[in-house]
Symmetry: C2
């Protein structure tokens, strides 16, 4: 156990890097995928199962937790780690993104965002200061600065105004966070698809100084091509020796492309949400278990996968329990999907360490191009 | 592994017995509680977790499985054990009870019951012969004879007519079952609350000869007092050297009273269904996790319980995830409830083996009378 937060790059391949983030609660191997545990649970999973997939860190949502069960309550109960029985690192978002997408009667000002809870209608305020306080009460290991996620599309003046507000909020976040050994604060780059704005944002954040840097304002509907367009230059604007986190990304091929472009950390609801809607990720692409062609198929989702779902259950079984509305369908497919995502990250880490990322990525795309195994 | 079905009583205390049922798929310690796995899943549980609670056998529902995914399909896929990844014994009911309570457009005749599926409206037939065939296709270890569960209340002539039909069906079930080494067929005693009819039913079944005997037609609304009234005499009418199974029972105190009266096997949806509705069973009685008094309670459901739910999670957490509609609430509370039920059975088995059942039962009731732990 180390008592401070530290990032160590162990190998590089092109712009891609692999390494380790050290925290008092454990190491995070990068590039890392963080399963999303919105309301103090990675949906349909026990935390020991999440750890068994290889996850070193999970993400918690400040907005959801502040409303229910409440940050003060979680603090009284000893913090989010003990509350949800997850002893490894937790990153919490700032609440900024979700307050704008989920809350009602929002009013954004220089101070922050006033809103009504989507749970019970009560009035709340999120600001750099209150977000830092809530994330402290939760006991988060990696705290995110409070920002405005610039919507897409945004014209240049709109994107500039939004980015500049986020930079003022970044400074207030840094000041409110203070000095908390063993806990990290990440700044968030904004600037939409405008290189000049991204550069100004990176410069502002670097001047303030953070333990890590997120690339914000992507995965908001701009499409993979535009996202990769930004990722061709944005990560390089951020300090090389700090972790870079692409928020809310993404599909497997999004992640692969972002890792190639120098991103170290990811989070996304896709593997867990898809687990509940019957979509499974495999090395050969997505499988929709609802499809009738699986009803008599004795084969697992992926014959080469070592997860408990593939070790114990056929597509026919998964099809049946999904159609019957059984909880075990979500449990098994979510487990498989999180296992797949962690295997994806492990494969990328190994490839970077061994200097064969380009070949690894080519093989990744070739296997997907083959498509799902033939119906029996 | 033994190749035949065998019951061995190892100790007695009053009318209660403890022992072991040997089957090719493993031993069943009696008195035994069988979790219900209606649609090829014990709801919200992985099968290895069901086994970890101490369950030696689970129950599958013929009616549900014949409709979805279909017995022929399960047979093609290698049988119910492999399909649902449960290698230990499975008992299947005959479908007789559920066809009368769930199916539509039912028509009962001497031949059997014609009905429409509640899933897709298709017409089906359940008879002694088709029930035996379906249970064979499922690969059930303990097969139940096809019977009519006499509704309660029923006057004596109605109960007699129903019982006599069930006895004719019992004979047809026996003939259709044939000789299947390693697999058992249980007959089902009917006769409602009439001792004379219960005696005639027991005599008819014994003359046919079964590997075990169920006490049917109870737990259908008659109340615990009347049920215990029947159990005061009905088990003694059945062969002493064969397992006695009380179908669909029940609450913890129902089970305790039935074990005192000589019953060896039980099944009930209560621990699993309650797990999904937020009711937890503890040694001090039931706990409703929805209740606001748990919102800040850092203590587990039962401080003396060794299940993973009580080892890792507070009442406050369970309250939160239940209120938030999270799947983990059902997963954890179901696990706790099944653990509680298996601990209940293990305690009864030990008490019988050590000849101290009366004191054990007195302590069971005394602890429940104390009520739940005081709110903090």
């Amino acid at each position: 156990m180390t008592s401070r937060f530290r990032f160590q790059i162990e190998a590089r391949d092109g712009r891609a890097r692999t390494g380790r983030i050290f925290t008092p609660r454990g190491e995070i191997r990068t590039p890392a995928f963080m399963p999303v545990g919105t309301a103090a649970t990675v949906k349909a999973m026990l935390p020991e199962s999440v750890a068994a997939t290889g996850a070193d860190i999970i993400l918690g949502n400040t907005y959801h937790l502040m409303l229910r069960p409440g940050a003060e309550r979680i603090d009284r109960l000893g913090g989010l780690h003990g509350f949800m029985n997850w002893g490894k690192p937790i990153l919490t978002d700032s609440g900024g993104f979700q307050v704008m997408s989920l809350a009602e009667l929002r009013k954004l000002s220089e101070e922050g965002v006033r809103f009504s809870s989507h749970v019970d209608g009560k009035r709340h305020m999120l600001s750099p200061e209150s977000s830092m306080e809530i994330q402290r009460l939760l006991g988060s290991d990696i705290v995110m600065a409070f920002d405005e996620c610039t919507p897409f599309p945004a014209d240049e003046p709109t994107a500039r105004t939004s980015m500049e507000l986020s930079m003022r909020w970044a400074r207030r976040s840094r000041e409110a966070f203070g000095d908390r050994p063993g806990h990290a604060l990440f700044g968030i780059q904004q600037g939409s698809v405008y290189p000049e704005l991204r550069a100004q944002s990176a410069e502002a954040l670097t001047a303030i100084g953070f333990d890590g840097y997120a690339i914000g304002g992507l995965a908001v509907g701009e499409g993979q091509e535009r996202m990769f367009g930004v990722l061709d230059y944005a990560p390089g604007m951020l300090p090389d020796d700090r972790p870079r986190y692409l928020m809310g990304v993404g599909k497997p091929d999004d992640i692969v492309g972002a890792v190639e472009r120098g991103v170290d950390m990811f989070d996304c609801v896709l593997p867990t949400r898809s687990g509940r809607t019957g979509q499974a990720f495999t090395r050969r692409g997505a499988v929709n278990i609802k499809n009738a062609r699986h009803a008599d198929d004795p084969r697992p989702l992926d014959p080469d996968c070592g997860c408990p779902c593939c070790a114990g259950y056929s597509r026919a079984y998964l099809h049946h329990v999904f159609k019957a509305g059984e909880i075990i369908a979500a449990m098994l497919i979510t487990w498989h999907n999180l296992h797949y995502y962690q295997e994806l990250m492990a494969g990328l880490r190994r490839a970077i360490a061994e200097g064969r990322l380009a070949a690894h990525v080519a093989a990744f795309h070739a296997r997907r191009a083959e498509g799902d195994i033939e119906p029996i």
